[in-house]
C-alpha cells in the first residue's frame, strides 16, 4: 500500500510543481519507489520540470479512459532509480478526470509504489479537489505573502472536510507546511512575513523552509529536480524537508542572512 502525498497551495506560482518534483526525487533517492502524478489537466508542466517532456506518449487521462495502460503511460526517470512520472493530459476537457477514474489509477499505482506524490493544480476546482481527495499527507506550499497565506488557510479547510479521510471519519490528512521563496534579508528589514508569522497564522507543523534561490530557476531551465543539485541552498533545503518528512530530526537552515562584516554594520 502506497502512501499518498498531495502537494497543494490554492494559489498558483508558489512552487507546487517544483516541490512535487523535488520531493518525489528525494523520496526515490532514499530507496522508496515513488511516482509523481500531474493533476493539472490542460496545463501540463511537471514533465518539463522533470525533464521528460519529449518522452510523453500517453497520459493520466488516456489511462482513465482505457486508451492506454498504466505501464505505457508511466515514464521512468533516467537519473534516479525507482522514480516514475505520470504526466497530465493537455486536453481542454475539464471533466476528463473523474473521481472513479482517479481512484482506480491510484489503487493500481498503490500496489506497485511506496509513495504517490500528487502535484495539484492551482485553484480549488475539480483537478485540485481530486488531487487532495485520496491523500494521506498534504504538503501545503506557501510563500511568505498575504494572498498565498490566505489561500493556504482555505486549502487547509478543504483538507479537513473535502477528502476521503474526512468523509469517512478516519484519521485526518497529515498537514505539513513548506514555506518557499523565503528571503531572510527582507524578513530582517520587516518587508516580508517571517517563518514564525506564517506558522502562527496557519498553525500547522513546519516541514521546511526553501530559500529564494537562483538554483530553482536554473534547475527548471535544465529540467532537473532542484533537489538533485546537491550543492545549492534550495536543493539542500528540500533534502532536509524530505528527511524530516521521513521522521529524521534536522535543524532548519537558511533562515538567516549570510552577512559579512560590512553587512552586519550597515545592513538591516
Amino acid at each position: 500500500m502506497a502512501k499518498i502525498l498531495v502537494v497543494t497551495s490554492g494559489k498558483g506560482g508558489v512552487g507546487k510543481t517544483t516541490t512535487s518534483a523535488a520531493f518525489a526525487a528525494g523520496l526515490a533517492r532514499r530507496g522508496y519507489k515513488t511516482v509523481v502524478v500531474d493533476f493539472d489537466v490542460g496545463l501540463r508542466n511537471l514533465d518539463l520540470i522533470m525533464g521528460c517532456e519529449r518522452r510523453v506518449v500517453y497520459d493520466f487521462v488516456n489511462v482513465i479512459n482505457g486508451e492506454a495502460n498504466l505501464n505505457q503511460a508511466l515514464i521512468r526517470d533516467k537519473r534516479v532509480e525507482d522514480l516514475y512520472i505520470l504526466p497530465a493530459s493537455q486536453t481542454r476537457d475539464k471533466d476528463a478526470l473523474t473521481q472513479e477514474g482517479v481512484e482506480q489509477v491510484l489503487d493500481t499505482l498503490s500496489e506497485q509504489f511506496d509513495y504517490i506524490v500528487c502535484d495539484s493544480p492551482a485553484g480549488i476546482e475539480r483537478g485540485a479537489n481530486l488531487a487532495m481527495y485520496f491523500a494521506d499527507e498534504a504538503l501545503v506550499v506557501t510563500n511568505p505573502e498575504v494572498s498565498s497565506v490566505r489561500d493556504s488557510d482555505r486549502v487547509l479547510g478543504l483538507l479537513a472536510s473535502k477528502t476521503r479521510r474526512a468523509e469517512q471519519g478516519k484519521e485526518p490528512v497529515g498537514e505539513h507546511l513548506l514555506i518557499t521563496r523565503y528571503a531572510p534579508s527582507r524578513v530582517g528589514k520587516g518587508e516580508m512575513l517571517s517563518v514564525e508569522d506564517v506558522r502562527e497564522i496557519l498553525a500547522i507543523d513546519l516541514l521546511g523552509v526553501i530559500p529564494e534561490s537562483t538554483a530553482v530557476l536554473n534547475a527548471s531551465n535544465a529540467g532537473v529536480p532542484v533537489i538533485l543539485e546537491d550543492r545549492t541552498d534550495a536543493g539542500q533545503a528540500y533534502d532536509d524537508a524530505v528527511a524530516r518528512f521521513l521522521g529524521e530530526e534536522r535543524e532548519h537552515r537558511f533562515l538567516t542572512e549570510k552577512k559579512g562584516l560590512f553587512g552586519r554594520i550597515f545592513g538591516g
Binding site: 498575504v146 488557510d153 479537513a160 472536510s161 528589514k189 520587516g190 508569522d197 497564522i201 538591516g268
Partner: protein
C-alpha cells in the same frame, strides 16, 4: 538590530501590517467554515432583510454551526447599532 535600523524604526514595517491583516481575515473565514454550503447565501439574505428595518454593517450578522451529538446547531448573532430605532439591542440572540 543594525546601526541603520535606528533611522528606519519610525515607519511601521509592512510585514507586521500584513500579519495583522491576515490574522483578521483568516479568523473571519475560518468561522464560516465547515458549515453547510448555503450559509454564505443565507447570511447575505438575512442581512438584506435586517436592513429593511435597521442599518447594520456587513459584519453585523455572525453565524456559526456547532455539532452537538447527532444534530448541528446554527447559532445566529446579530449586532444592532447602539441607539438605533425602536427596540434595537446589542448582541441580541
Amino acid at each position: 538590530m543594525s546601526f541603520l535600523d535606528y533611522f528606519r524604526s519610525e515607519k511601521r514595517r509592512s510585514a507586521s501590517v500584513a500579519k495583522e491583516r491576515l490574522q483578521i481575515i483568516v479568523a473571519r473565514e475560518r468561522s464560516g467554515r465547515g458549515g453547510p454550503d448555503y450559509l454564505p447565501k443565507l447570511q447575505e439574505e438575512l442581512l438584506s432583510v435586517i436592513r429593511k428595518y435597521v442599518q447594520v454593517s456587513d459584519d453585523a450578522v455572525r453565524m456559526e454551526v456547532e455539532h452537538e451529538g447527532n444534530c448541528d446547531v446554527l447559532e445566529l448573532n446579530i449586532t444592532l447599532p447602539e441607539g438605533g430605532e425602536g427596540n434595537a439591542q446589542t448582541g441580541r440572540r
